[in-house]
Assembly symmetry: C2
DNA sequence: AGAGCAAGTTACAAAAAGTAACCTTATTAA
DNA sequence: TTAATAAGGTTACTTTTTGTAACTTGCTCT
């Protein structure tokens, strides 16, 4: 898989984007107070990605349905992640007081908007996953 | 900040993308063996994002320069992240046997390619960070 | 009365991240 | 001739985060 080189012009554009977003980036200051990292970390961790993907694929899922699909996740962690995603507005939680109780989760418009962007990044990863495997083998051999 | 609603047509397109990438997504199988999560988790965590951004902004940085810029990171974690990013091929590490020793890190073409995609996601986050803050306040109040 | 179900919670163990002191090799200053 | 300084880490130890598995709650059905 060939990676096209980034031209100097493109690099300048990237640097400008970074500067615009992280205005205080310079040798003397930090990004410590920047919320972007916090938001990124909470929405792109290994479990949240799967929750986004499954809710993008199946419009509505209940707690235990998600638990079965997001293979390996525990009740505790699923519960925590759903709370965070709900709190930040990516998903909605609807409780129906039936017996037994029914709770339904789905992406909000905001969540769909984020998922669209997240997918573009995962598509890149999907395209180059073999390249990364090869890089790891080369590294190991060296 | 208004979020535009995702049409049913767009949702189907998203579902198709997911199906293409995560072909085995269905109620009976898992994504357990999928490398995408692993790669995403290792390249988009809270410290790696900053390393990408700083190396996207400053073409070449030495260990201690990075340490100063990536405010709050410890030697140990910086060293670990740099190793992982080097191993996966995002950055290159060049050592010069001077005294004192000099080690330079920079993005590879592969790393630049990834950063470009990562930036699109962080730009979305940058655009909507206030929305998320509001969502959190609403959630807290409810 | 006992079993079962959905949707969690809780107490505890394991893993990951953070902290601070230390190491190496060579150079210069006292 | 010690001693301090420098870069780029490593190591031992502490704290925080994750993961595991058992338990809870409220109601129904047998």
């Amino acid at each position: 898989m060939e990676i096209e080189t980034t031209t100097d012009y493109q690099k300048v554009k990237v640097a400008n984007k970074i500067k615009k977003m992280f205005g205080h980036i310079n040798p003397r200051t930090s990004m410590e107070l920047c919320p972007i990292r916090d938001i990124m970390a909470l929405s792109s961790d290994k479990w949240s990605i799967l929750i986004f993907l499954y809710l993008g694929f199946f419009p509505v899922l209940r707690f235990n349905e998600l638990k079965k699909k997001v293979y390996g996740i525990s009740n505790k962690v699923l519960s925590e992640r759903l709370k965070t995603l709900d709190r930040d507005g990516y998903i909605s939680r609807k409780m129906y007081s039936e017996v037994p109780i029914r709770v339904e989760y789905q992406l909000t418009d905001f969540g769909h908007s984020y998922l669209k962007k997240l997918l573009e990044l995962t598509e890149w990863v999907d395209t180059y996953k073999e390249t990364i495997q090869e890089n790891r083998l080369k590294y190991k051999a060296s």
